[in-house]
Each structure stands twice: as C-alpha cells, then as structure tokens.
C-alpha cells in the first residue's frame, strides 16, 4: 500500500469498530423495544467498555513512549547528538550504546529520541492542517441547502483525492525544496478529503435528527447549530479519522524521508535512519530494526488511542453503570 495514501484504511475503519451494540440505534420509533433495551442492558455495553478501556490504555502507553522520548531529548540524550563517537562505528548493542551505533559512530538511541520529535511534529501539523480545513468544509457541505455549494466542495474534494499524494509531495519539494515543512504540508493537504468526507457524511446523518429540527425551532442560527450540535456529535468520527491520519502521517513522513523528499540531514528522522541502514542490512540488521520498531509503535499507538478516545467521548457509553 502506498504509505502516502491516507484514505484507504480511513474509510473502512470507523465501521470496523462495533462500539455501538447492534440494534441499539433507534430503528423504528414505534418499535417494541423489548429486544433492543434488553440487548443493550449491560453485557455488550460492559464488554465494549472494557475493550475500549484496554485499547485506550495500550494506545496511551505506546504514544506515551514516543512522546516521552521526544520530550526527554530536549534536555538529555545518552550521547551528544552532534559529536559522533568515531571510535565506535557500527557497534552492536552494548552498555554505552544501548541500541548500537551507525556508520559514523552516532548513537542509535539518541537518534531515535531526536527522530521522535520530527515524527510528532509532522503528525500534529499534518493532522492539524487536514482537520482544520477538512472538517469545516465537510460540515458546510453537509449543512448547506444550496446544492451547488455542497457539489462544489465535494467535487473539489474528489479532485484532490484523485491527485496522487506522492506526486503532491514531489511537487512541493521541487517548488519549496525538500524538507520537513513542505513534507508535512503536503501530507496534510493530501489528508483533507478524508476529513471532509467523514465530516460530511456525519453531518448529513446528524442533520436528519429531530434535535436539529428542535434547535432550529429554538431559533438557533446555522453557525450555532454547527458548533453546538453537529461538531460535538461528529467528534467521534473525526477523532478516529485524526488518529488514523496521524498514524499514516508518521508512515508518510518516514516514506518521504526514506526517498530523500522529507526531513533533510542533519535533522534526525526515523525514515532516513531506515534508508541509511539499508546498505548494512546484512551485517547490522538492528540498524533497521530500531527505527522500524519505533515507527510501528507510533502507528499502532495512535490507532489504538484514537479508537479508545472515540469510545470514551461517547456519553452513551460513559454514563451507563
């Protein structure tokens, strides 16, 4: 799969989480709710709450590892990052170099810690760009009564979606020069359509609810309805999308850096570490192992955290006892 494509798994993932017990949604108002209320009574909810809790904790721990590494790197690293130990090149794991060293004698653990900063920065900025542009567009497209406007937004969206994200990144690095900045902006822009789609479909669903009609009869303006009713109610979907996008940005940044289009030397980046380790795969496989492992930790962590957060934010799961 193209690591730069943030859309593939994104569309499938919200549906894949059975946090809402089947049949609990109001199917028919007049329906006899016997089975419904009984089915949601406690067991399935309890079970999904427990898994949600576990998912959340595991995700938090994994993300926590990455965040702590990044934060600690600002005040302390095992070895000074700028002064490689030329005497100890390509060393294996030892007490002085916990994760070993690379061909210049740089301490791998130190570089992993520094790479975590870039990883988080790219994730936050890319998700921020995508969310801040995509969600308002999607909500607008979902709420507007002007068909041409929603058509315009969604067709523009399709256009962006059809545009290969990798191509976007290459164009950006050609125009602005390769670097972390252009890379994260490119990743962010490429992820806008996913947010816009999720936000729009969520909004369309919410707009059909009677509480929106109630808010309108309470004389709320469209902006107030969007902020008070629509956004909180689609927040769960958006958060899941954000976590997936965050994980994909981590992958995308690593991929771009691997190709030389992302973070440039001397700034440490997991993707570039992977690339540099390539020629030593036979002799020092752990050089590839460590950055690979941490990319996996970050990706998994953000995915799990997103799922967990979504369930925690749902008051229908939270309030039951």
């Amino acid at each position: 799969m193209n690591p730069l494509d943030p859309h593939g798994p994104a569309t499938g993932s919200p549906a894949a989480h059975p946090s809402v017990p089947p049949g609990s949604a109001a199917q028919t108002p007049a329906a006899d709710a016997a089975t419904r209320s009984a089915a949601t009574a406690d067991t399935p909810v309890g079970r999904s709450r427990r898994t949600a809790e576990l998912t959340f904790v595991v995700g938090l721990v994994l993300v926590g590892i990455v965040v702590v590494l990044a934060l600690v790197s600002f005040v302390w690293t095992p070895h000074p990052p700028t002064r490689p130990d030329a005497a100890a090149r390509l060393e294996g794991m030892s007490v002085t170099h916990l994760f070993g060293t690379d061909r210049f004698g740089r301490d791998t653990l130190t570089w992993i810690m520094l790479g975590a900063r870039v990883t988080l920065l790219v994730g936050v900025v890319a998700v921020g760009i995508a969310m801040l542009i995509g969600v308002p567009l999607g909500v607008l497209a979902g709420m507007t009564r002007a068909r041409w406007l929603s058509g315009l937004i969604m067709r523009g969206n399709d256009l962006l979606l059809a545009f290969p994200a990798l191509l976007l990144a290459i164009v950006f690095s050609a125009v602005f020069g390769p670097g972390t900045g252009p890379a994260m902006v490119a990743i962010g822009i490429a992820a806008i359509p996913a947010f816009a789609r999720v936000a729009r479909s969520g909004t369309l669903q919410i707009m059909g609810r009677e509480y929106i009609a109630a808010a309108r009869t309470a004389n709320r303006t469209p902006l107030q309805i969007a902020i008070q009713h629509v956004v909180p109610n689609i927040a769960g979907l958006v958060i899941v999308q954000a976590s997936v996008t965050f994980a994909l940005s981590v992958l995308a940044e690593a991929g771009l850096s691997f190709l030389g289009l992302g973070t440039q030397p001397p700034t440490p980046s997991w993707g570039r570490m992977l690339q540099e380790s390539q020629q030593f795969l036979g002799s020092r496989p752990e050089l590839a192992l460590w950055p690979g492992l941490f990319i996996a930790i970050a990706v998994l962590g953000f995915n799990l955290l997103g799922d967990g957060l979504r369930d925690r934010l749902d008051p229908t799961l939270r309030g039951r006892s």
Binding site: T28, A33, A34, D42, E210, A218, N219, R220, T221, P315
Partner: protein, 611 residues
C-alpha cells in the same frame, strides 16, 4: 383437549449473570390463539425468540420448550435441526416487513424459497404454490405481485408477503411479533383480519405478541400478560379484560382505555388504576351501536359519566362546549370552523391561520427527469386561541409536512401561514424569531429529539439562549420547567440516554415550554411510548395546556388519543383535509367515507370484546 402443541416450562432467559426472563411456563394447544402482552422490556419478544431458537448470541435460555412430535427439548437441539423446524413446523412474522424481506429478491421467489429449502415442493410447484399463497393473502393480481420487489409494495402488502412466507409450509405454530405495529390503522385492520382468517383455515396455533390490548382482544382467545420478565396473569380474553386479577393488568387496561377518565378528566395511569371501572362496564351500552365495531356508543358513556360529576374540570368542556353546540346547529362538518369563526366574537382572530398551503417536493428520478410529489394540496386550517386542534391521518397524509411548514422549518410552495401577528416565512429571520417565541414543538421520537451530547439543563435552556438570556436565568427557568414536567432537579445534570422514553418526552416538553409559548405543537408525541407511559404524558400535556392556557396543535395517527385530548379535529388524507370539525361530531357522525373507515378500523377494547 389433546396434547399441547407447544409447551414451555421453566423458561429462563439471561444475559451474563442477569436474568431477563424469569422462569415462566405456558402451553398452546393445536389451533389455539395465545396473546402475549407486555410493554417494552417485558421480555415478550425474547420469549418468542427463545421458542424459535433465535435468541441473540449473548443470551442464553434454560428450561424446556417442547413442540409436539419433536420429542425432546428444543433448547438443547442443534442449530441445524432447529433450522429444519423453522419455516416448516413453526414460523414467524416480524414487525418490520421491509427489513425482514430481501430487497434484491422478487417476493414470489422469496415465498417459493421457503418451500424449496424445506423440500416441500419442487421448483415449479413452489412457484405455482407461491402465487397461490399470494392469492390467499389477498394480494391483487398475485401473478404480477410475485414478480415485484419488496420496495415496490406498500407496508401492508409486504406484511401480507411475510404472512404468505410464514404460512407456506402450513406450520403448526405461527408466531407473530407485533405484526401490525408499523402499519396504518386501516391496513392493520385488514392484516389482522387476514391473520385471523388464515390461522382459522389452517388450524394453526398462534402466539401473538403485541403491546396493544385492543389488538390482542380482537385476535386471541387466551392472553398472557408479561411485566418485567414475569408472567403476571393468564386467562381468557374475557377474564383478563373484564375481571383482571393482577394490579399490573388492571393498570395496563386502564391506561390503554382512552375513553375512560378519572374525576379530574385525566386518563388513568397504572398508579390510579384502582378507580378504573373496567373495560367491561361500557358493554352495558345499547348493543345495536356496538356491533358496528365503532366504539363511540360505549365510549361516550364512559367519558361522560365522570365528566359530568367533574363539571368544568373535564377538559373537552369549556370553550369547546360552546363551539360544539353551535356546530351541531350548523350541521355540516365542512363549514364548522368557519361558522364558529364568524359567530363568536372571541374567535374573530384565529391564532393560527393557514390558507391554501401547498407543498410540492421535486425528486430527481434521473438525469433529465424529475418526479413531483404533492405532499400538501391546498390546506386551509384555522385554530382559535385556546383551541385544541387535532390533526389525524395515516402515514404519508402530509401531517408532518404541515407541521414543518407551520413551524417555519420548510418553505411552502404556495399559500400563507399566519401565527399570531407573524406571517411565517423561513426567509424572514426576525419574523421567525418573533413567531418561535410563541410556537414551540414537541417531537415524535424521544430518542432522536434530544442531543445526546448535551446535558438536560443545556437542552431545556437552548431556546432561551437564542433569546439572549444569561446562564443563571436559563438555569432558573430550566429548574422551574423540569419541576413542571415532574422530574427531579438532579435530572438537569444528567444526559438524555440516562432517561426512559417517557422521561425524555417530558424533557422535550420542558424544552418546548421554557420560552412560555402561546402555542404548543406536538408531532405524535406519544406514539413511541408504552401504553402506561402514554397515559402519563398525555395527562401531563393536558395539565400544562390548562395551566399555561396554551393553544394546542396535536398531530397523531391515533384517533383515540386525539379524541381524548382535542376539541377539534382535522382528518387528513394524501395532502388534503377531508373533514374537520369538533371532535365528537367528527367521530360520532363522520361526514366523509374516509373518516368513517378510519374510525371503524381503529381497534378498541370495547369493540373487540363485543364482536
């Protein structure tokens, strides 16, 4: 009587460690019709699922379920051996015919499928028999119907298809789980007749599950009442309906009888059921009127006796009494409202005036084609200040569209709506602001009309925010309203999902009344509620309408509810008002055929008991 067809002993259903259905036992003799009554959550649907072996996987059943000729306990049989019984010796009709049918398969093939699966017919035989069956369930042009897809049929027709499928292999036991709840009354009546006829013709045992006492009285011989997973009472229809032994049964009976009121003119609830005279009481009324399935004769007796004692307290009295006398003079129902308008000085200004309201929806049917659907075809409707206007009609009659237009949520294609001094126009924001201070709505679905992410205080206070009130004032008003609708103060900090349907509808009412409107518009506010809760919410509405001297516009498909609550009624069908006038006049002496059909089709306990 010979050995029972179905015998259930010590049936217990539990999920995890919690017991949902407590040990219960019942038997159905061959050809017997047993009704199972209960409110939502009583476990009646679970009981039937357990018999069919269709319990959700997280639930487990213990006990014995034995079908005659099948030997041992069905609960211990494997899924595949149960599958051989289902659709063959016992079959089921579900509530929602649309979701029970395969949308991508022609209905004839679906009827034939059940015969081929059980190898009771070859492919060709099955198809011929399927068309035969469609004829038996009275589908017009069965051969053509067999080639139709489910979405091309109406709800009632789909339910007939379901019944044809269920009866295809002439089962010994038919389980109907709320088969008519999703249908309109006139359709319900025909489907019930059909079930009646087919079950009788085949000698099939019937387990009929419903929350509607009137329906069960019409179809069944014996009734079992369930409450909170227990069978509280079993008996013949006559025993249960005329001499209920258990408190809950009596309560349920009292609460579902919309014609009986206590000495304050309010409906009986489970709590006040002790004073209920019983459904059998009006049976003393002249038999001549009762045979015609119309209940008015018996009903008016029940209503008027306590009302007379209470004097002014009973609510259809007062303003409407004047109007009623006059309209009787006026004769025709058509000019009734116009007449009152001219003659009574106090009524010179109608509070709500709708004239020539037309709404046409354009639906795109293709690239260059579009369908026009006329939802409203020129509605003229006036409501005087303090009036209680009921709007009845079946699904698709346009009553909800009318409300949307009245409340400024939709733009009419043509016509004029005036509320108070404001001409309603969704484009005119300041006009709407003024109008919405006066007119508020209670919505139908208590599960969808409250934002799940807001606390109850925020929900109730929302209309006040638009009026620019600050937080403290909103809180005071919310507290006042939550008390007025009979909920605790702590409710304000809780979230909607922590409340039951009835409580949510109270919250919805509180939200509607927090702006102190003059007009309350209610869109089927009780149709999603259980019978016992329905009575409470209707009483609350009546109390609040009195207390705040509201003008009420009440939309419902349920004629009984409208009769109880409203002084005037307009009957709608396919976008038109076919008849309007004072409630009693329209119900007792309908001028239009459709009204007559509607009144006749509405099941009532009195009618069912006297057939």
């Amino acid at each position: 009587m010979s050995a029972p067809l179905l015998s259930v002993r010590d049936l217990t259903i539990s999920t995890g460690s919690r017991e949902i259905v407590h040990p219960l036992a019942f038997e159905i003799a061959p050809g017997e019709r047993l009704g199972l009554i209960g409110e939502s959550g009583s476990g009646k649907s679970l009981t039937s699922s357990a018999v069919m072996g269709l319990l959700p996987s997280e639930m487990s059943a213990r006990g014995t379920v034995a079908l005659s000729g099948e030997g041992a306990n069905l609960l211990e049989r494997s899924e595949s051996s149960l599958a051989r019984l289902r659709g063959n010796r016992m079959s089921m009709v579900f509530q929602e015919p649309m979701s029970a049918l395969n949308p991508l398969m022609r209905v004839g093939a679906q009827v034939a499928e059940v015969m081929r699966l059980h190898r009771t017919a070859t492919r060709d035989q099955a198809m011929t028999r399927a068309i035969d069956l469609l004829d038996q369930v009275h589908l017009p042009d069965p051969a053509a119907a067999a080639r139709a897809y489910p979405h091309q049929l109406s709800g009632g027709q789909r339910q007939r298809i379901m019944l044809a499928i269920a009866l295809a292999n002439s089962p010994d036991l038919l389980i109907c789980d709320e088969p008519t709840t999703a249908l309109d009354v006139t359709v319900q009546s025909a489907v019930l007749d059909l079930i009646d006829e087919q079950v009788a013709a085949r000698g099939t045992g019937l387990l009929f599950i419903t929350h509607d006492l009137a329906v069960v009285a019409r179809v069944c011989e014996r009734v079992m009442v369930m409450n909170r997973g227990r069978v509280v009472e079993t008996g013949t229809v006559d025993q249960i309906f005329t001499a209920p032994q258990h408190e809950y049964t009596r309560g349920l009976l009292a609460a579902s009888d919309l014609t009986a009121t206590d000495d304050r003119g309010r409906l009986f609830t489970i709590a006040t059921a002790a004073a209920y005279p019983g459904a059998g009481a009006p049976a003393d009324a002249p038999a001549a009127r009762v045979t015609g399935e119309t209940q008015p004769a018996g009903a008016s007796v029940a209503e008027q006796t306590p009302a007379a004692e209470a004097g002014e307290q009973s609510q259809p009295a007062g303003t409407s009494a004047v109007g009623r006398a006059e309209d009787r003079e006026a004769g025709g129902a058509w000019d009734a409202s116009g007449k009152t308008g001219r003659d009574e000085p106090s009524d010179t200004a109608h509070l709500i005036e709708m004239s020539g309201v037309v709404k046409t929806f354009t639906r795109r049917a293709g690239l260059f084609r579009s369908d026009r659907v006329e939802a409203l075809k020129g509605i003229d409707l006036n409501v005087r200040a303090g009036g209680r206007m009921g709007i009845v009609g079946e699904s698709g009659s346009g009553k909800s569209t009318l409300l949307s237009i009245l409340s400024g949520l939709e733009t009419p294609t043509a016509g004029r709506i005036r509320v108070g001094d404001v001409v309603v126009d969704p484009e005119d924001y300041s006009g709407l602001t003024a109008m919405r201070r006066d007119l508020q709505i209670v919505f139908q679905d208590p599960y969808a009309s409250l934002d799940p992410r807001m606390s109850v205080a925020e929900i109730i206070g929302e209309p006040l925010r638009s009026m620019g009130l600050d937080g403290a004032e909103r809180k005071d008003r919310a507290e006042e309203m939550i008390e007025a609708v009979g909920l605790d103060h702590d409710s304000l900090t809780r979230f909607p999902h922590q409340f039951s349907g009835g409580q949510r509808q109270r919250i919805s009412i509180a939200r509607a009344l927090v702006t102190r409107p003059r007009i309350l518009v209610a869109d089927e506010p009780v149709s999603a509620l259980d019978v016992s809760v329905r009575a409470q919410v209707l009483n609350l509405l009546a109390d609040l309408v009195d207390e705040y001297s509201l003008t009420l516009v009440f939309v419902s498909h349920d004629l009984g509810v409208v009769r109880h609550l409203c002084s005037d009624v307009a009957v709608m069908r396919s976008g038109e008002i076919v008849e309007q006038g004072p409630t009693d006049q329209v119900y007792d002496d309908p001028a239009h055929d459709y009204t007559r059909a509607l009144v006749a089709a509405t099941p009532t306990i009195h009618a069912a008991l006297n057939v």
